[in-house]
């Protein structure tokens, strides 16, 4: 679907240029019809803006991937701090990090105080951005390719894609998205069959039960710290 839309966009653009040309021609000829055409043109354009649909799940993923590749391309010049800065908005806007934080502590979530919950969400946001900033630090021709899209039983969408790496096996990236308000947000990434959410969940619940909340936060902070140094 989105593919057809973008194709239509292109057609429309050339049409617009064509019309623009004609209009210019008419103005030059002082044709009264020109005014009418100009009005039409503006009307069409603004109608377009209103009708523009909210991003689909696929678009959310692809936008994020493009931004990630962009950061990788400039990774060396940006340095860790620069990459963190640049990735902050793309990550926060495409992921539902509150929900992610909630899922990875499972039933323990209810046992946390509101301050602790906020503290956890904050830590997860920083951890996610810093792990992206650390792991996607340079560029050697990698490219994300969209494979397919699939609806899950409970209204989620899974976007299947893979990352082509020159001289290496491609890595499968499956994104699971859920609707948050009117937009789609990533809540899980499954890389080569390993679910990030499931992995974190086992780790975090276990640490919470064994060692408590403060240790968990301390360990997360330690990881973020290491990411910034390595």
């Amino acid at each position: 679907m989105p593919f057809r839309q973008s194709a239509r966009h292109k057609v429309n653009n050339t049409q617009i240029y064509y019309i623009f040309y004609k209009v210019l021609d008419m103005i030059l000829q002082k044709n009264k019809l020109a005014l009418f055409f100009i009005v039409c043109l503006f009307a069409a354009n603004s109608a377009f803006a209103i009708n523009e649909p909210v991003e689909t799940a696929k678009q959310v993923v692809e936008k994020f991937q493009t931004e990630l590749i962009d950061v990788m391309k400039n990774g060396k010049q940006l340095g860790y701090a620069g990459r963190y800065e640049k990735l902050h908005d793309p990550v926060s806007n495409s992921h539902d990090l509150t929900k992610i934080a909630r899922i990875i502590v499972g039933k323990e979530w209810e046992k946390l105080t509101e301050t602790q919950q906020q503290q956890l969400v904050d830590a997860i946001i920083r951890l996610s951005i810093s792990s992206y900033a650390h792991n996607f630090k340079d560029y050697s021709g990698e490219a994300f390719v969209f494979d397919s899209e699939e609806e899950t039983t409970r209204g989620g969408v899974v976007v299947h894609s893979h990352l082509n790496i020159p001289d290496d096996k491609p890595v499968k990236f499956d994104y699971m998205l859920k609707e948050k308000g009117s937009s789609w947000r990533i809540i899980n990434i499954i890389a080569n069959g390993v679910s990030d959410l499931a992995l974190k969940r086992s780790e975090y619940t276990s640490i919470l039960q064994r060692e408590g909340f403060d240790t968990l936060i301390a360990k997360i902070n330690e990881k973020i710290d290491n990411y910034s140094k390595l």
Binding site: K107, T152, M176, G193, A198, K223, N226, L230
Partner: protein, 330 residues
């Protein structure tokens, strides 16, 4: 399978088991005093032997830190990348014999033909496998092994096990590894080659191990979960994973308020909650824990032996299983 081959397999399996048993005993005696058993709070259904596994994990980690990593680092330091790639390709090519066998056992005949082609091209044009020529003509390396074959045959992976020196596995993985070892020529060439194979494996794993180090809050759980998921994904060729995962998470989200059902592991730790505080001053409690530990360990070993029996049996019926798979594919 001819009789001679299967008896050969038996010998291999026996050797393998006795090796594991010996290694386990050594590691246990080495670890018994290192750490008092932590109470098993979060019992994972795939990992009933977590306490034992954690000890072996710690042991393996030490072995890696003090022996394997230094050797592997030295190898990486003195050996040019080109040679390293050649060594990797060589062993990888030998592995393809096993891949072809397991393709056939899983009734993946087209893939089996492809992998045979890959093996033939790399052994000849690739000068005994040193160069991966096949990759450049579009024959990608496939990952198949006997553990996956057992999975396709319907054997569930069983409990998670960490094996001394060898690392993560499952009850199903042990006979799987025994078969794979038996089907790999480098096993028979002798010690230097086997050592080189091990070194190559460690050097190749460097990246993953480093990633675990960087990303894991609890390296034991991180390794366990990623290993189980990765094996599952390989066994199903990437099909079942996502949907299962998604459904699980969905269920979890729906259930997270209502379902606080007490898990089987919970009553135990409630009753033990107090003694844990002064565990060190109470020898009887820790003794009890140790005994339980040993019971569990011996159970994990008997589980493994049982699974070896099952695997042998499964193997005897291989013909009918392949036929069934063939039919189901049509």
């Amino acid at each position: 399978m001819s009789k001679a081959n299967s008896s050969n397999l038996d010998v291999k399996i026996n050797k393998f088991i006795s090796g594991i048993l010996m290694a386990t005993v050594i590691s246990l005696s080495g670890c018994a005093t290192t750490k008092d058993s932590e109470q098993n709070l979060s019992t994972n259904k795939d990992d009933p032997y977590e306490n034992f596994n954690r000890k072996v994990f710690t042991f393996n980690d030490k072995v890696d830190d003090y022996v394997a990593k230094p050797i592997s680092d030295g190898y990486k330091w003195v050996t040019p990348q080109l040679v390293q790639t050649g060594v990797f390709n060589f062993f990888n090519n030998l592995k393809n014999i096993n891949v072809v066998i397991n393709d056939a056992l899983q009734a993946k005949f087209a893939q089996s033909a492809q992998d045979t082609g890959r093996l033939a091209i790399n052994t000849t044009l690739g000068l005994g496998g040193i160069f991966d020529v096949a990759k450049h003509v579009g024959l990608e390396q496939n990952e198949e092994d006997f553990d996956q074959t057992l999975a396709v045959w319907g054997v569930s992976h069983g409990s998670y096990l960490v094996i001394p020196f060898l690392g993560p596995s499952t009850v199903r993985g042990v006979p799987g590894a025994a078969f794979d070892t038996a089907a790999n020529p480098s096993t028979y060439i002798g010690f230097p080659i086997m050592a080189a194979a091990l070194l190559n494996t460690r050097a190749t794993a460097e990246g993953s191990l480093q990633f675990i180090d960087e990303a894991a809050l609890d390296p034991y759980i991180f390794t366990r979960e990623s290993f189980l998921q990765w094996r599952d994904n390989l066994a199903t060729d990437g099909k079942s994973q996502t949907s299962n995962d998604v459904d699980d998470l969905d269920n979890e989200l729906l259930a997270d308020d209502k379902d606080t059902a007490v898990k089987p592991g919970l009553p135990i730790n409630v009753s033990k909650a107090e003694p844990t505080k002064d565990k060190k001053t109470n020898p009887s409690v820790s003794l009890e824990a140790e005994t339980k530990e040993l019971e569990k360990t011996s159970k994990s070993l008997s589980d493994t032996t049982k699974s070896l029996d099952n695997a042998t049996q499964a193997f005897e019926n291989a013909d009918s299983k392949i036929d069934k798979l063939k039919k189901s594919k049509k």
